[in-house]
């Protein structure tokens, strides 16, 4: 179910997939996830599945709390739905798409970083100021069930969960 003014987001954490409505009208999802001053995110109409059987709904609750620290990634169908307010606009330097491959504990991701200027891996992966990064045009593959894939316009990925990051060049 998708309510007016809200978006349906797939959240992945600890072997679970949760599809829920996030009220994006008040605050874009990207802003809420990147916000270091909050630890939780509230979603409505949450439907739970395990990643091994991602289409089987095992439970549903009218409201669910997402613990951001434990969240591996959040995936949206539309790219704009996951972008922070400031990421939706252009840049003086122009935005570059840099294909990346990322591994998390239970997933591997293929997508592109959309960044202005030069890529600096240390800045991108640093968790000092921001704990998430945004990838666009994303394919997520379950590590333990490799025939299960999820695709989306964008994903917000928890940097503290990243094991490896592959790039075409530095």
């Amino acid at each position: 179910m998708e309510k007016l003014g809200s978006i349906v987001v797939d959240f992945f954490a600890h072997g679970y997939r949760v599809s829920g409505n996030y009220k994006a009208r008040q605050r874009p999802l990207g802003d809420a996830i990147y916000d270091n001053t909050t630890s939780y995110l509230m979603v409505e109409d949450a439907y739970f599945s395990t990643v091994t059987k991602p289409a089987d709904i095992t439970a549903s609750y009218p409201v669910a709390t997402i613990v951001k620290q434990n969240l591996s990634l959040a995936l949206t169908g539309n790219t704009d739905d996951a972008l922070r307010r400031d990421q939706k606009y252009g840049s003086y330097l122009g935005l570059k798409l840099i294909p990346v491959f990322i591994t998390l504990s239970a997933f591997e991701l293929k997508g592109s970083l959309r960044i202005p200027g030069r890529l600096d891996v240390r800045v991108i992966l640093s968790t000092q100021t921001e704990t998430f990064i945004t990838l666009v045009d994303v394919t997520v593959r379950s590590t333990y069930k490799t025939d299960v894939t999820f695709t989306g316009g964008a994903a917000l990925v928890n940097k503290t969960h990243i094991g490896f990051m592959g790039l075409q060049s530095l």
Partner: protein, 360 residues
């Protein structure tokens, strides 16, 4: 006009669907806000078609569909799953539960109306069977790109489609689709008793692929009998077969073309491309009415006028595929144009070709 039952817990969605299906589709619509009530309503007064949401609190949509299929009164009605859960696994789950089709929210009104018509009229869907090889005698002008994306476009229309990569020198369809395939048709040379169905790989979109051998075949060549058998078995696995043919008029390619319902002949608009197209047209003169001529612009720049090309080749051009600068990037990312979030000119052109083939 059909009787349509919509089961969705979102009142805004119910209102919108009712307005569209009544005013534009001319159908009679009944609305129910939850799975349990929708189920009892359907069993009391079976509709022609049910549109069912998945994420509903009391009984989820898959369970509703299963129960509708179990009951003889509603076992034969058309069912469309309409959900915000739009991953490939969700589509598979919907079809496994017994739905005829799956589509995602936010829904395109025209697509929904078309899907409703197709689900209500299964004969129309059945008539969409066909064998469509994509062919050119000139390499490097996008035969694989067209075949892969056309097969995906048809799959997106909920048509059961299989793509056969017939290349002998390591085909690229699996690569374009970002698939790592275990099986390929080259295995048939070692194990001729194997059923072709066992060699098919399934893409996340639902498209089935009969992949090419990942290594060049030196001496093994498919015989006409083998090709005929493969085609017969593929027809059992899918309604539409798209074949990425090698750029040659070898006997096995000839066998495929002999069996084709319609041939998509791809041409470049440069002199060598036109010369090869003329050769192909001459070679398949007896099938001229089945040939659809397409021009693919793989480089930027000015193009000769369409009228001039039609005059030279003495046949109408079905479509002129526009140059798409994003194609190179998409191929590098293993993302076919049809699956890109930002469909470019190529995806738009191919969607139109798929639509034309479907209605032809």
């Amino acid at each position: 006009m059909a009787r349509i039952l919509i089961i969705d817990d979102n009142p805004d969605m119910l209102q919108m669907l009712q307005m569209v299906l009544e005013n534009r589709g001319g159908h009679t619509v009944t609305l129910t806000p939850d799975g349990q009530e929708g189920l009892s309503q359907a069993l009391t007064n079976p509709p022609d078609l049910a549109i069912v949401d998945v994420m509903m609190p009391d009984m989820n949509g898959y369970e509703v569909v299963r129960r509708l299929r179990e009951n003889p009164r509603t076992a034969e009605i058309g069912i469309i799953i309409l959900t915000a859960r739009g991953q490939a696994v969700d589509k598979t789950a919907a079809l496994e539960a017994g739905a005829d089709a799956h589509t995602t929210k936010p829904v395109d009104i025209n697509e929904l109306l078309e899907l409703v018509e197709n689900t209500l009229n299964p004969r129309r869907m059945l008539s969409q069977q066909g064998l469509f090889p994509v062919f050119s005698l000139r390499g490097g002008i996008g035969v694989t790109t067209l075949a892969v994306n056309l097969a995906l476009a048809l799959t997106k229309m909920n048509i059961n489609t299989v793509l056969w990569d017939m290349a002998y020198n390591g085909g690229h369809c699996a690569l374009y689709l970002g698939m790592k395939t275990k099986h390929h048709w080259g295995i048939l040379f070692q194990s001729p008793e194997l059923r072709v169905q066992r060699l098919l790989s399934e893409h996340a979109s639902g498209l089935k692929l009969l992949a090419a051998p990942p290594y060049p075949l030196q001496e093994d060549r498919l015989t006409s009998e083998q090709v005929t058998t493969i085609l017969a078995e593929l027809r059992q696995s899918a309604d539409i077969i798209i074949i990425d043919l090698p750029a040659t008029l070898s006997p096995e390619v000839g066998t495929v073309l002999d069996h084709a319902d319609q041939i998509l002949l791809l041409s470049g608009d440069d002199p060598p491309g036109i010369q090869r197209t003329m050769l192909a047209l001459r070679a398949r003169q007896q099938q001229i009415k089945q040939i659809h001529l397409l021009f693919n612009n793989v480089t930027p720049g000015p193009r000769p006028p369409l009228e001039a090309l039609q005059k030279v080749l003495q046949m109408p051009v079905m479509a002129q595929i526009a140059y798409d600068p994003t194609q190179t990037t998409l191929v590098r990312r293993n993302t076919p144009a049809m699956l890109s979030d930002h469909p470019g000119e190529l995806a738009k052109s191919i969607a139109q070709i798929a639509q034309q083939l479907r209605s032809s």
